[in-house]
């Protein structure tokens, strides 16, 4: 899959540093995400992938650096504007993060009810469409607690797409899914990108997914606390000279470590 022909940049991150409280997690992170591409945030467990995602979706203010979404400095604009930008972004959280007190249809419908003036039947039709798109045939009245982990993720994706966002953030979309389910989700992500032209940023350490669908990506390291490689996952696998990246991408034990499996990639 080649990247989309557009040259428009959806997200441009420059020298970003972030952390919790006074604990820095990553610094000097820079990358750009072209429109219509699938961008991967990679790295071993605990390197700050999900934290970077939090900064990108506006849940964590970075301590330094700039982040431009569609050309706008995301953290410099007013809160109201940031909310507006956020509404054009969809987020799939790691375990779905469905609102447990609502049926799955209500989960998908809530953003539509809040931010559009569509009538109830129109919203119902859109909700059914989104649930159908993610391949969920279950009736919308089911509660999140009645669903399996994979189904919850699908509903989470349907909710992320509720407002037809042009940027989708996915936190470990295929983690916890069986290989067939993970493959189907990969295909679905490609279909959504190709169909709606969405830009997709995903956190993942599922190597098959990374190689199959991602056009480019960034590799964060927990040791140096910064990005150590940028590029398409396939290229990183075949060409990257960094031993950690090479080991991660090829599912090997890093050569520097004597004990096998110690802190290596999962």
């Amino acid at each position: 899959m080649s990247s989309a022909p557009q040259t428009e940049v959806k997200i441009a991150v420059e020298g970003l540093a972030f952390g919790y409280g006074s604990t820095p997690i990553q610094h000097d992170v820079s990358f750009t995400v072209p429109a219509g591409s699938i961008f991967a945030i990679m790295g071993g467990s605990g390197c700050g992938k999900s934290t970077l995602l939090k900064a990108l979706i506006g849940l964590l203010r970075p301590s330094a650096g700039t982040m431009r979404v569609r050309g706008e400095d995301y953290w410099a604009v007013s809160d109201a504007r940031r909310e507006q930008i956020g509404r054009r972004c969809g987020v799939l959280f790691q375990s779905g993060a469905l609102w447990s007190s609502m049926s799955i249809a209500d989960n998908v419908a809530l953003p539509l009810r809040m931010f559009t003036t569509l009538s109830a039947p129109e919203i119902d039709r859109l909700v059914r469409l989104k649930l159908d798109l993610v391949g969920l045939t279950a009736p919308g009245e089911m509660m999140p607690s009645d669903l399996s982990g994979g189904m919850r993720k699908r509903v989470g994706l349907a909710r992320a797409m509720a407002l037809d966002p042009d940027i989708l953030f996915l936190d470990e979309p295929s983690a916890g899914l069986d290989p067939i389910g993970a493959r189907r989700l990969d295909d679905l992500i490609l279909d959504l990108r190709d169909g709606f032209g969405s830009t997709i940023v995903m956190v993942s350490h599922e190597l098959p997914s990374l190689f199959a669908i991602c056009d480019s990506g960034i590799f964060l390291s927990a040791d140096t606390n910064t990005a150590i490689a940028i590029g398409a996952p396939r290229d990183l696998r075949d060409q990257c000279a960094d031993p950690t990246v090479h080991a991660f991408m090829n599912r090997e034990t890093p050569k520097s470590e004597s004990a096998p499996g110690n802190g290596g990639p999962k």
């Binding site: 989309a4 022909p5 557009q6 428009e8 429109a35 219509g36 569609r70 507006q84 054009r88 447990s100 007190s101 539509l112 931010f115 559009t116 569509l118 009538s119 039947p121 129109e122 039709r125 859109l126 059914r128 469409l129 989104k130 649930l131 159908d132 798109l133 391949g135 045939t137 009736p139 919308g140 009245e141 089911m142 509660m143 999140p144 607690s145 797409m161 407002l163 037809d164 042009d166 679905l188 279909d191 959504l192 190709d194 169909g195 709606f196 032209g197």
Partner: protein, 384 residues
């Protein structure tokens, strides 16, 4: 690749529009405008009208003039496709943008199954189900009570598989941490009682008996009851919420899987903590209540402090303190058992945790007051 135009918030969008062109039995729908779902929706009746032409054999699309589109277009075409299927009209998707066709291929052609409507339940069925669940609940509570009695013996002999640290944390939480609020609430109750009592007694020139009133009421009833109500809201609800959260996080499943007895590990320390701490809290509460009454009597009703104390001494017998102590032990056990039981029987979602906490508080307070009423009736029958 053909992609819909980027929909920046500032760009002006046209309403979706379509023209129908008929060529014999084939109708071509020429789409134009912007098909953005959150801006404009096409009414279902309008979509239905497109295919409702007698003698139609196929429907096609032309999309040369279409602007931006997203799920708005998909909803439109999907509905048209379902209509066409229903009427036996062939739908030719070749005129649609290839990316839209790719997404359409993901959609099932059949409408989704309706949620099965649960059959109407007869009153007998509802009553029977309710009675059975009540019976099951009673059995579960009895089981916890029985296990507690059996395992407390083991705990005293040091054989229970309970972590000492857990018991100490529970003791601190149900004891020292709760002391402040128990004292404040009881102090105020004692004061209120003295005030209300004195106003009535003064009519008969008997305001000297306010010490008897406060002393007996606080020691026999108020201190134990108020302390139990406070602890039910504070600790009973917390037990239910903690255990329900552990259930949701699969922590309880993990304990079961490892084979750690739930009762020893989770329930026993909590019940023991409340049963051990409640009598102490009761004593502090009773002292605070009497002190509250004393303050009001001396400062506001101008009763001599020595009179108050001497009346108190004769009015409050040791057996009454024992009665209050005994009740507070029972209340502590009831609150802890209800909290743990409701926590363990909760659902696994976030809202279930909130419900469990609410139910534990309400059930705890109701049970404590009911038990207190039973105690009062029994004491009366025994002329105690």
């Amino acid at each position: 690749m053909d992609l819909p135009a980027a929909d920046s918030p500032s760009s002006a969008l046209d309403s979706p529009a379509w023209d129908c062109r008929d060529e014999g039995a084939r109708r071509t729908v020429d789409l134009s405008g912007d098909w953005i779902a959150r801006r404009h929706a096409v009414p279902a009746a309008a979509i239905e009208a497109i295919g409702a032409v007698p003698g139609l054999s196929s429907l096609g699309f032309q999309t040369d003039r279409i602007g931006a589109w997203d799920s708005g277009l998909l909803v439109f075409v999907a509905q048209l496709r379902r209509d066409a299927d229903r009427r036996g009209v062939a739908l030719d998707e070749t005129g649609l943008p290839p990316s839209a066709r790719r997404l359409l291929a993901l959609l099932p052609r059949q409408p989704p199954p309706d949620a099965s409507v649960p059959p109407r339940r007869s009153p007998r069925l509802i009553l029977g189900t309710w009675a059975l669940s009540l019976w099951a609940e009673e059995k579960a509570v009895a089981r916890i009570l029985g296990e507690t009695i059996l395992r407390s013996g083991a705990a005293v002999r040091g054989q229970a598989r309970m972590r000492g640290a857990d018991l100490l944390t529970a003791l601190q939480d149900a004891g020292a941490s709760a002391l402040g609020i128990v004292i404040v609430v009881n102090l105020l109750m004692g004061g209120i009682l003295a005030f209300v009592g004195a106003v009535q007694l003064r009519r008969f020139g008997a305001d000297i008996y306010v010490a008897d009133l406060v002393g007996i009421a606080v020691v026999r009833e108020i201190a134990a009851l108020i302390t139990a109500v406070v602890m039910s809201g504070r600790t009973g609800g917390a037990y239910a919420a903690q255990i329900a959260t552990m259930l949701g996080n699969e922590e309880i499943d993990a304990l079961r899987a490892v084979g750690i007895p739930l009762h020893d590990y989770l329930i026993l320390p909590r019940i023991l903590a409340l049963v051990l701490m409640m009598p102490l809290l009761y004593l502090y509460g009773a002292a605070a209540g009497i002190f509250g009454g004393f303050l009001v009597a001396v400062a506001m009703l101008n009763l001599p402090s020595t009179t108050f104390l001497s009346h108190l001494q004769t009015a409050v017998a040791g057996s009454q303190i024992l009665f209050g102590l005994g009740k507070s032990v029972a209340f502590g056990g009831v609150i802890a058992i209800i909290g743990c039981r409701i926590g363990l029987s909760a659902g696994r979602s976030a809202s279930d945790v909130g419900q469990a906490a609410t139910r534990a508080v309400v059930a705890g307070i109701v049970a404590v007051i009911a038990l207190d009423a039973v105690c009062a009736v029994c004491a009366n029958a025994l002329r105690f």
